[in-house]
């Protein structure tokens, strides 16, 4: 699973194009955990909290994270970047998993079911925020209906699933964090920071999240990045 560009290229430091208040935070965290040299280029969300147009000059989708390997290959999608980083730089296999089916299931889950649900909640929040009164009253009414009909129960089911998967382990990956932990950090921060789920109702998941924030690599990632406030949309 090595980088497949011309092997003769002189390797440079890899580069992370990082966006504030975004899922790129989990990649920055992983880079800090791996303790490798890399170049960090920080971008700020615009006033409407969208990606700035400069990111489109790196990759046409214009989203962050964008990772450029030491050989110059551009990689998008957090899952691919995280996998590439672990395959390439976790030489001592500190973050390796012992069960690929479980690891991929949790990794995929972090980007599909859970994030999808959180994004929908965000959309309702935005609709309520950007709709003038009295229409905002109606959007809030629709959100309440949606929550009671669907999303509250779905969030609970998702959290129960994750709590069961975590069990009494420190990390989803076992004794050390792994791809599933790095990947799950984003949707869990998203639902936690925005209050879509009160993680204190799920003490083991809350403890897992706190465990992340205590890691030196997480702290240095926060220092090197340019903000991770998911409440200000």
């Amino acid at each position: 699973m090595a980088d497949s560009t011309t092997p003769g290229d002189a390797p440079q430091k890899p580069t992370l194009h990082h966006l504030s208040d975004s899922q790129s935070q989990r990649i920055l965290w992983l880079l800090e955990e791996l303790a490798i040299p890399y170049t960090l280029i920080n971008y700020k969300r615009d006033e409407q909290k969208r990606s700035p147009p400069e990111l489109k000059t790196i990759h046409p989708l214009g989203r962050s994270p964008i990772f450029v390997t030491a050989h110059g290959r551009i990689i998008t999608e957090s899952m691919t970047i995280a996998t590439y980083l672990l395959e390439t730089y976790d030489i001592p296999k500190k973050f390796a998993h012992s069960d690929w089916i479980r690891d991929m299931t949790l990794t995929s889950f972090s980007g599909t079911s859970l994030l999808d649900l959180a994004d929908t909640e965000l959309l309702f929040d935005l609709a309520a925020k950007h709709t003038p009164w009295p229409l905002s009253y109606i959007t809030r009414y629709i959100k309440k209906k949606y929550d009671s009909f669907f999303s509250t129960a779905e969030f609970e089911k998702n959290m129960e699933f994750l709590a069961k998967e975590l069990g009494d382990q420190e990390w989803f990956n076992g004794k050390e964090p792994g791809r599933a932990d790095f990947m799950l950090s984003w949707p869990m921060d998203f639902v936690g920071q925005r209050g879509y789920v009160d993680l204190k109702d799920f003490p083991t998941l809350h403890a897992w999240r706190m465990r992340i924030t205590e890691r030196p690599a997480w702290k240095s990632a926060l220092e090197k990045g340019n903000g991770y406030d998911l409440t200000s949309w």
Copy 2:
């Protein structure tokens, strides 16, 4: 990457718990492509188009697809199931990819960016449908705003990205379909059937989608399943 349950278990036929009008269709298609013996259990969406409660007895998340391996291990998440099937049963490597970074990027993309965008559109459709007049007028107004502010341009960017990735190949995977093709079939059918994107504006993507429907395995998957109508929500 073999199934990690006790090797001494006598292998049975694997089972797919399949839901009508759902992403499980891509797994059914893959099973037919692999031409292996398997048990298919069909479930129908309820009147509100949701998963029936029976699925919760198989896995607490109650979503389809749910795959039970020949050794009795339960796997959820389409990406994990597709990967397991290819790793386990594609012995001649007919559907193998030559570049794991590209394959994972497209596979992840099918479940994150593209599907997330499509789900949001669906949500607006549902809000408009289930909101009584004159509130439905307002939800449609909000949807229009959202489309013009965000989603129309996002869909276009996504389609341009995919068209570029497909290039002049028959399949994203090259000469034969691969994991990325199986996985992309669902969001592309979703946006195509519901008219979120007019795929005729992207002739190579349209031709790719038509190419799928012409495959004998796709046709037999449709026959064995219990409906694949994504327009009736």
